[in-house]
Amino acid sequence: MDSSEEYSVSGSVTNRCYIACINGELSSAQMGQLYDEIVRMAEKRELRGVIMDLNGLAVLDSAAFCVLRKISVALALMGLKSAWMGIKPAIASSLVDFGADVDDLCICLNIEDGVRLIGSEK
C-alpha cells in the first residue's frame, strides 16, 4: 500500500505552535502516521505546542480518538501542550455517545485562543 503520503494533514507554524489541520475520514493507519508526523515535527521545530484542527474531520471513531489522545499524551511527555480545535457538533455528539473521557483535554475555540492557551503558564 502506498498511502504513506496520502493522509490529509497540512500544517503551519505560528508563535511556536504547530497547527495541524486534519481532514477527511482518517483510517487508523493514517492516524498512526499522523502521530509520527506530529511528534517528529514537534521535536524538530522547537515548538511550544500543537493545535489540532479537527474541523475538516468528517467522522471520528474511538480508535481515531484514541490516537489523537495518545498524540496529546506523547506531546505532554515531551513538555509540549496541545489543544484541540474545531470539533463540530456531530463529532461532539459521537464523542458523547462513545463515552469518551474528555475532561483532561484542552479545547480551544480558534487559533488565537489556542496560541494563548499554549503560551500561558502551566
Binding site: 483510517s27 487508523s28 471513531d61 474511538s62 480508535a63 459521537s94 455517545d97 462513545f98
Partner: protein, 149 residues
C-alpha cells in the same frame, strides 16, 4: 456460536430491504470509502446530519475492528423499511477472523485486547437502536445493527 443482543432482543425479521451496498474491507482505504458511502446513503434516506454522522461512526468502528482483528471482511449497508413504513439503516459487518471468545466481556466499556480505549463495540450498541453480535471463536464475527429514522 455465542450471541449477544442489545436489550436481549433479537432483530426483527420482517423488514423490507430497499437499497444496499457492500464494502469489502482489505486495506485502510476501504474503510474511508465505506464511511463516506454510508454518510451518502444515510443522507439520501432522510437522516439528519447528526444521525448520518452517527451511523457512519458505527460503520467506522466496525470497519476498524475488522481490519484490526480479522484483517479482512465486509460491511453491508442497507436502507430498510418496517411494516409501519418507518425507514432505517441496517449495518451488517462480517469477517472470518479469529472471533471473540467472550462477547459479554467484549461488549463492556474499556475492554480492549489492543491497548485501545475499548469503546468501539459498546458505542455501536449505544448509537444503534437494534444491535446483535454473534461469534464463533476461531471462525469469525457477525454484527447486525439498525438505526431508525
Amino acid at each position: 456460536m455465542t450471541r449477544y443482543c442489545k436489550n436481549d432482543r433479537v432483530l426483527e425479521a420482517s423488514v423490507k430491504l430497499l437499497e444496499s451496498s457492500t464494502f469489502e474491507l482489505n486495506e485502510e482505504n476501504d474503510q474511508a470509502t465505506a464511511v463516506f458511502m454510508t454518510r451518502e446513503m444515510a443522507k439520501n434516506a432522510g437522516f439528519s446530519l447528526a444521525d448520518e454522522v452517527m451511523v457512519a461512526t458505527a460503520v467506522s468502528e466496525l470497519a476498524t475492528n475488522i481490519l484490526r482483528y480479522a484483517s479482512s471482511g465486509s460491511v453491508r449497508v442497507t436502507v430498510i423499511q418496517r411494516g409501519d413504513e418507518r425507514t432505517g439503516i441496517e449495518i451488517l459487518a462480517e469477517d472470518k477472523g479469529r472471533g471473540i471468545r467472550d462477547l459479554k466481556l467484549a461488549m463492556q466499556d474499556n475492554y480492549s485486547t489492543a491497548e485501545s480505549l475499548g469503546l468501539g463495540l459498546p458505542s455501536v450498541e449505544r448509537i444503534m437502536d437494534e444491535f446483535e453480535i454473534e461469534s464463533d471463536f476461531g471462525q469469525g464475527t457477525r454484527i447486525r445493527a439498525r438505526r431508525w429514522l
